[in-house]
Every structure is written in C-alpha cells, then in structure tokens.
C-alpha cells in the first residue's frame, strides 16, 4: 500500500501583492539612502553610527516593528508575508539591524504568550527585544540553558543574536515543570559582545546569573512559545537568504556585463553564462520556497512547519552558493575588503547555521512527511 504524504492545503499565492511591492519600494528607498556598503563594512571595525539611526527609521518612522502582530492584538493588520518582504530587503543590503531578532523571533515568542502590554511595546518599536537562545538553535534542538533558583536566574547563554541591541531579554528558563519564558531587563544581565563571523548580526554571550525576571509564559507554555518563534523565524529567515542571494546574483551579473578580458565582455563566455543561468534558476526556486514559507506562516496553514523546514533546507544553501559564486566570479576584487561581496558571504554562511542547518531541517522534514531515517 502506498502511503500519502501531507498535502499543501490550497493554491497559496506565491507572488508579491501590490501592497507588498509598495512596501518593498519604501524599505528599499530608505536602505539605498542610508545603508550604504561603506557604512555597513564599518561595523567590522567597531563603527556604531549606522545601526541606531537606521533601526529607528525602520521601526519608528516606517512602523515596521509590529508587522507580525495581528490586528486584534494591536497590530497594523500586516502578516508574516510583509515581515518576510522586509527581511528580503534587509538581506539585500546586509542591513545591521535587529529586525529578525526583535521583530520576528522575540515578537513571535511574545505573541505566543498573553502579555499584550509587552507585545504592544515591542510592536511599537519603543523597545528592542531578543530571545535569549544561541542563534544556531532550531525548534528541533531547543533546550533551555538557564534555571531559576529563589526568584533569581542562573546560567549563561552563548552566541545570542540581537542581545547587544536589546533592552528586553526573553529568557527560556528550565524548571521541573517545563520551560517558562521570562522577561529580563537587559541592564540586569551581563551581555558580552563576541567577535562574530557576521558582524552585521553581532552575537553576544549573555550571563543571566543573579538577574531578576518576570514570568511571561508559565511552564507548559514557554516551550511551545519558543518553538513557535523558532519555526516562524526559520520560515522568514528564508526571505533574508533570498535577498542575500538576489543581491549576489544581480551584482555578479552587472559586473560580468561590464568587465572585459581577452577583448570581450566576460559575461559572454559560456562557462560563466551557464553558471549564472544555474544560479538564476536556484534563486527563482528559493523565491518560491521563501514565499511559500511566508504565506503559510501568515495563514497558520497546517503545512507551515513543512514549509519552514523546506525553505531553510533549500534557501540557506542557495544564499551561500550565490555569495560564493559572487566572490569567485568577481575575481580578485571579490576577495577584497573594499568590495561588499564579503559582507554577503559572511551573512550567508552565518545564516546557514542560524535557526538550524539545512541538514537539521531535512531531518525534520523527513519526520513531517513520513520518510523515516534509519534508526541509529
């Protein structure tokens, strides 16, 4: 007997709507003006001038911090589709802002609690929040590293993204009854910056020992809240990866149409044409996967977990390949600090590990679609 796998519920719209296109234009205009490669690369040498202003412009001026919050909980009526689109643009500019960590991961975690005051603060962009888990953690591998004793937290979480920018930390806390989610004032924790592969999303080691906290999700709900956040995060990270890949394709294409060697435009050499054709096919495929993940997340579609893991299993590697091709096909200039290609390579490679590797997501997919692994 042939078993059937799960089927997608309906013919979801994988195109960009007019509203989404106009949001894209707005975000792109802002980033074109303010998030220039010279400013982005400066963060590797400790430059801090870009981030606070750019983040403020996105959250306060454009009001993008609360896109994931539904209307009935004080949001503006946007969905994960629009949040994905913003991430696509942020990826295209490797923008060093905590949108993924605060407006997606932390917001999705708070959404899964009943704390509407906290939700309103995060959504309005008044505060910046971070979910205190290693960036490499996935919904599949999630475990809380912090414990609570006598009302005080104890423990340290390494490689946390977005903690440096956050004023509010959301900390999963292991208790005998299950995982609780606690809110902690960032000032009461020790947040130690880490020299990171991708300095445009700089990590920190967070020591919570002795910090006071408030429980926002009790044992029994905290675990689900964190896993939900990590799943939504994985789904939408695919759009960031798409944006990274798209920039790499576009800039490589532009360069190969301009660069001349042997008396001709090098983009006319068939070896390079075929590589770019393959890359284009991969990027268009990544777009379909990323849009499907965003659309199913927006609709709370029963297929959304499959979609999230599918998108991560595919798009993470496409972004890395696009960035690697970008460096290679630019030749010598692609290896320099001066050319922005390295910013995308570092982001793509870090994103490949973020929220679960492609291998981990394929493993998860195999469980979800009933293609069991061989028992160890």
């Amino acid at each position: 007997m042939t078993q059937q796998t799960t089927q997608p519920a309906h013919d979801v719209n994988l195109l960009y709507t007019d509203v989404e296109d106009s949001l894209r234009d707005t975000v792109r205009d802002l980033l074109t003006a303010r998030c220039t490669p010279d400013k982005v690369v400066a963060v590797y040498d400790g430059g801090r001038s870009l981030q606070p202003q750019l983040w403020r412009a996105l959250t306060v001026d454009l009001g993008l911090a609360g896109l994931l919050v539904p209307e009935d909980r004080g949001g503006a009526g946007a969905t994960a589709r629009e949040a994905a689109l913003v991430l696509e643009e942020l990826g295209r500019f490797v923008a060093p802002v905590p949108f993924l960590t605060s407006s997606v991961l932390a917001t999705a975690a708070v959404l899964a609690t009943d704390d509407d005051d906290l939700l309103a603060a995060v959504a309005a962009g008044d505060g910046t929040a971070a979910l205190v888990v290693p960036l490499s953690m996935s919904a599949m591998s999630f475990a809380a590293a912090v414990r609570a004793t006598d009302g005080r937290l104890q423990g340290r979480v390494t490689s946390v993204a977005g903690a440096l920018e956050a004023d509010l930390l959301l900390v999963p806390v292991a208790t005998d009854g299950g995982v609780e989610l606690h809110a902690v004032d960032a000032a009461s924790a020790t947040v130690e910056p880490v020299v990171s592969l991708d300095m445009t999303r700089r990590l920190a080691d967070v020591d919570l020992t002795g910090a006071a906290s408030t429980i926002i999700a009790p044992a029994g709900r905290g675990d689900a809240a964190v896993r939900e956040a990590l799943t939504v995060g994985a789904a939408l990270l695919a759009s960031e990866q798409l944006g990274v890949a798209q920039w790499c394709l576009d800039s490589t294409l532009a360069y190969l149409k301009d660069r001349r060697q042997f008396g001709r435009v090098v983009g006319g050499f068939q070896a390079l044409k075929h590589r770019l054709a393959d890359l284009y096919v991969s990027v268009e495929s990544a777009r379909a996967a990323a849009r499907y993940a965003a659309a199913t997340a927006a609709d709370h579609d029963p297929d959304r977990e499959v979609a999230a893991s599918l998108a991560q299993a595919y798009c993470a590697d496409v972004a890395v390949r696009a960035a690697e091709e970008c460096v290679q096909l630019h030749g010598g200039i692609g290896m320099t600090w001066e050319h922005p290609a390295h910013l995308y390579l570092k982001r793509a490679k870090a994103d490949q590990i973020a929220l679960g590797t492609p291998g981990a997501h394929r493993r998860r997919l195999s469980e979800l679609v009933d293609l069991p692994a061989v028992p160890a």
Binding site: L15, G268, L276, A277, A289, L310
Partner: protein, 396 residues
C-alpha cells in the same frame, strides 16, 4: 465580469452541455464535439474555436466540473504534440480556414499530430534543417529526413519545418507547413532507444506534396513560427501542475516507505536532499503558472525544464541504487511501440534510462542555459559564425 461571475457563467454552460449530452448515454466522441462547440474545450481559445476567450486559469474549474459529472475527456496524453504545440501555433499563425479545419478534430483526439522538426544534421542547431520544400504549381514538394518524431506512426498530421530558400542565411530560408502523414511519400520507421523500446521514429519524406493552403505563416518566416511552438513545448515539458510527490519524487518516496529493509543513512541524506529540491521545484512551477496565468509563455519555462530534467535523472538514479539487488533487474528489453510515455507504471531501470532523454528532448540543458543567460539575464549571445552566410554555403 468578476471572477465569481465568470465561474457562475461557466457552471451554467457546463450544466447546459450536460443537460443536452448526458455523458452516460452520449457517444464519447459526440460529447467531445459538443464540448468543443460549447467553448469548453480550452476556455482561453477564441469563441468558435473551442474556447470563450477567458484566461486559461479557468480551464481547471471547467475540467473539475466535467470530471465530477463523469464526462469523457480527450485523453490529452495521446495527443501531446497536437495539444501542446500544434494547437497554439495554429491559433497564433493559422488562417481562419486552417483554424477551423484543424483545431476541432485535434482537440477531440480524432486526429493525432506529430512534429517534423529535428534532423540528423540539425539538433540543437534546429535552424540548420536541410529538408527541402520546393514550389510546384500551387503547392510544395518536400524531400528530406526527420528524426525523434514521437507518434509519427499514429499521426494524421505533422507540423513541419522545411527549407524553402537555401540561398539566404539559415534562419531566413525556412517555412512552416502542415504535412499530411498519409501521403504516400511519408515513410515512418521506428527508432529504438536505450530503454529497448521505440517511442520515436525516423521519418523519410520523398516527394511529399503539400498544398500551399497548408503553409502556416508566410514563406520564409518558419523560424518565427517554430519558436512559438518551441516555447509552448518547454512550458508543456517543465510546467505541469502536480501535487506534492506527484512526480518521480513520489515513486522513490513510496519505495522508501514500503521497503524499510533497503534504507541506509547515506541514501536517506540523498533522498531528503532530492525530495526537498523536488518540492521546491513544484512550488516554483506553481509560482510560474501564477505569473503566466494571463500571457504568453516566456523563457522562464526553460528554467523550469532545466530543473525538472535534472531532478528526474537524479531521483530515478537514486531509486535504482536504493533497490539494491532488485535494481540489477530490468523489466523487458523487447522492442515495443508504447502508446504512452508513462513513467510511474514502469520499473526503476526504465525510468532511469528514459529520464536521460529529459535533458535532451525539447532543447538540451546546455541550450536552455544559453537561453536563460541570454534572454532572461541579458548576457551576450553566443558567437554565430553562420548567421550571415547563405545556408547552401555553410561548411558541412
């Protein structure tokens, strides 16, 4: 009309058709003719030619209603060339007389079509075809050899690309015809493939007569007409709507589920990589169809075909390996002439061998990469040493 109004209108038309032609008591061919007359054959075709001039997206709705009512269909797989390639080309370039003569029996399946394009000396370089069509009174006389012609042994008509002027460069000297496959000068011989069977044919054309009324498009513009056909073909090959696991991925997945003793960790890694790619390809096809819902097929179809060809080959190759000892066995090497190219009802070895054709037929993957690079990405075209030379003077 709004989408709802169109659907309501279509529902009423289907109801009328079913009321006057009860599928249970109507001869299937009569039913299909009536369906064509009602404009419900292909709704995106014009009125009077089997359609209603609607966006092609509404066809699925009509098909669904008719299937639910137990209506017979035209078994589209038996006339893939006719429906997928000849029909859109006739619609775009045919005269009114040609459209009304050819389209109704094509759609009902009464007349099967084949394609006389490729030649032994003109594969990827299709514009180099050497089959000659020479003026003779109010008609043409055709001589030459064609190859890779599926369904030639069953076809009533063929779309034919032939050289009418050898003294001009290759693209300029071509004309597109409809060729009568019952002409005594048409000799069809089976071409046996690596699977053992003969799905294709070689077709020898000796003094085949074609009336000028069967010329499709102007003399010398055959290349333009052929390109419209080829774009339709690539969309047809790369872009069929499918459910999850609807293609080759589903076959391998079923084997994985049913035969736990075959599983190894290494095969599981490869299975999941390919399953992921196949599902993403399915979504990419869905996205492309949403994009093309209204409008002509573009070069993006070439991109889809590249992906589907590669995945079919990798998945079928994985399946043979997964089967282990059973993968060493083969169903049947007997030379037969299959009615349909049906991947799922066959053994893994057949699928593996047949899938080799996927990256060759309808444009090799190498040519398709050129098309994507040049027409989608705007990269420089390949050098063409032959473009300003009269066809007859080309080195060969």
């Amino acid at each position: 009309m709004s989408e709802e109004e169109i659907r309501a209108d279509l529902k009423a038309r289907v109801a009328d058709l079913l009321a006057t032609h009860d599928p249970a008591s109507t001869d299937p061919l009569d039913f299909l003719r009536a369906r064509f007359a009602a404009g419900l054959a292909w709704v995106h075709f014009p009125e009077g030619l089997g359609g209603l001039g609607l966006p092609r997206t509404f066809q699925g709705y009509v098909d669904q209603l008719l299937v639910a009512a137990g209506a017979p269909d035209n078994d589209p797989r038996r006339n893939g060339i006719g429906l997928g390639m000849a029909a859109p080309t006739i619609l775009a370039f045919g005269t009114d007389e040609q459209k009304h003569r050819f389209l109704p029996p094509l759609w009902t399946g009464e007349e099967v079509w084949c394609q006389l394009f490729s030649e032994p000396g003109a594969g990827s370089d299709l514009a180099a075809v050497g089959t000659r069509a020479d003026r003779d009174g109010d008609g043409w006389v055709v001589n030459g050899q064609k190859v890779w012609t599926s369904a030639a042994h069953k076809a009533r008509w063929a779309i034919l690309l032939a050289r009418t002027d050898p003294a001009v460069p290759k693209h300029a000297g071509l004309t597109y015809f409809v060729c009568d496959m019952t002409d005594p000068g048409v000799d069809v011989r089976p071409l046996r493939q690596i699977t053992g069977e003969a799905e294709f044919n070689e077709v020898f054309l000796s003094d085949v007569r074609i009336p000028d009324a069967h010329r499709l498009g102007p003399e010398g513009e055959g290349w333009k007409v052929a390109n419209a056909t080829l774009m339709s073909e690539r969309v047809a090959i790369g872009g069929n709507a499918a459910p999850r696991e609807g293609g080759m991925a589903g076959v391998v997945a079923s084997t994985w589920r049913e035969r736990p003793e075959l599983r190894t960790p290494e095969l599981h890694d490869r299975l999941m990589s390919l399953w992921t790619e196949a599902e993403v390809a399915r979504l990419t096809g869905q996205r492309l169809r949403q994009k093309l819902a209204v409008g002509a097929p573009g070069p993006e179809g070439s991109a889809m075909k590249l992906t589907f060809a590669r995945l079919a080959q990798q998945l079928s190759g994985l399946e043979v390996e997964l089967l282990g000892e059973d993968g060493l066995r083969y169903g049947d090497w007997t030379m037969v002439r299959p009615d349909l190219v049906e991947f799922t009802g066959r053994d893994a070895g057949y699928r593996y061998l047949r899938a080799k054709g996927n990256s060759i037929e309808g444009g090799t993957s190498e040519i398709l990469r050129n098309i994507v690079a040049e027409r989608v990405l705007g990269l420089p075209a390949e050098a063409r040493a032959d473009k300003d030379i009269a066809w007859k003077d080309l080195p060969r």
